[in-house]
Amino acid sequence: MSLKRKDFLGLYDVSAEEINQILDTAVAMKDILTRTVKKVPTLRGKTVINLFYEPSTRTKFSFNLAAKRLSADVMSISKSSSSIAKGESLLDTAKTMEVMGADVVVIRHSAPGAAKFLADNISASVLNAGDGAHAHPTQALLDIYSIKEKLGEIAGLKVLIVGDIAHSRVARSNIWGLNKLGAEVAVAGPQTLIPREIEKMGVKVYSDLDQALENVDVVNILRIQMERQESGLFPSIREYREIYGMNAERLERIGKKAMIMHPGPMNRGIEIESSVADSPQSVITEQVKNGVAIRMALLYLLAGREIDNEDLN
């Protein structure tokens, strides 16, 4: 059974059953990453193109590695070193990749909806690796996988996402995915960084972190972007650290069973204190490993779709 879709754009239109199928497949994929021979011949002859219009280290590297572990041919194109810099349109670049035989196009773009736009216009599978503040489904899936791996069942867990919710595709994707699997999701952050009407996504909103931390199972800490402070959305880095930073004292209060996550890259000493990032409750390094397994699972499941030419314009 494969995913019944050509593209994977976000968790908003994916069923709980499909999410579980991806998580289950990733378990077997993770085993491969621990072997001596960390490669299987599954996607021989398939071509994966990474099209990255935004800077990215771990997501790009993770997709690269995932494709290589499955024996696909993989190429990465970034904005500065390609015709994109000469002004070629997104669609023209993608069509060129397709003509060269791409089966899957992985795209990271600053414009929300960029992945959807590509998916509607090319016949290759499109995998969203982050589109603006909209969605970052593979990050959310690896977060959910990490929670499930450590705590067992997602349903009934209390997950708190802390930080800049308004500009975060990671937050949005986590909320969609976790809600579908029956978790209780809450967000905490300065009011200027919490989108209006986010309650409608089915989350609780806190402006007081200490209140939000009462009775949580998982704390997912988001990266705070310095330019948000420059644009006046919060007064100072020092104040943010005091009010919303995850520190040793707060970690102590939530207890030994709670889990600490961060999608990276971290600002140590701002949203997360080093002692928290490196604590036994932290799964931050495991998240990176799980990211490769999740992306392998998705590449495997997407590559198997039956090509239905009537679906295309």
Partner: protein, 184 residues
């Protein structure tokens, strides 16, 4: 072929005969390998797994020595992944020991085209370098498409390509039996 669209044509082997075949294969494995030293049994998912367990239990009954068993999932090594419409579900391979230097007996229920065994050989070799790989199966139904043969066979059953041989184990199915199915 989808088994739900098939009807049982006849029972080829009953539970008692299956038990006797397993006992004989266990003895043959011990005879060929001169005992249990470095011997491990690895069942191919799904129905090679209960057969490997049964063989290990029988060997322990005969020799009084426990032989290690493992489970091999060959999905990621299949040669038809680029042509099948639906990606098959991937399960874990569970071999909690190093196979390097071991005499591995690969176990499956039915030997047919040989393609599953080809995939299994590739999958095993990615896990280590066994001293030997041998093949034990319950039913050899012919129609090989690759130069592969079994070392230990429960029963040779010439079949037609339109038929399906369905080996049932009570661990998974209702009871032990080998059934011949045909399209209804």
């Amino acid at each position: 072929m989808d088994k739900s669209e098939m009807v049982v044509k006849k029972e080829l082997i009953d539970s008692a005969a299956m038990g006797r075949a397993i006992t004989r294969i266990a003895h043959e494995i011990l005879e060929k390998n001169k005992g249990t030293e470095d011997l491990v049994l690895i069942g191919i998912r799904t129905r090679g797994v209960p057969l490997a367990e049964r063989l290990a239990a029988k060997i322990e009954e005969i020799e009084g020595i426990e032989v290690k068993t493992g489970i091999l999932d060959i999905t990621l090594y299949r040669d038809d992944l680029s042509t099948v419409a639906q990606q098959p579900i991937v399960h874990r391979t569970e071999i909690p020991f190093d196979i390097t230097g071991k005499k591995v007996v690969l176990v499956d229920d039915v030997l047919y085209t040989g393609r599953t065994v080809r995939a299994a050989l590739d999958a095993l070799i990615d896990l280590g370098r066994p001293l030997q790989i041998q093949l034990a199966i319950m039913i050899d139904r012919g129609h090989r498409e690759l130069p592969i043969r079994a070392d230990f066979v429960g029963k040779n059953l010439p079949t037609s390509k339109t038929e399906v041989v369905d080996v049932n184990f009570k661990e998974i199915d209702e009871k032990d039996a080998v059934l011949l199915l045909e399209k209804s």
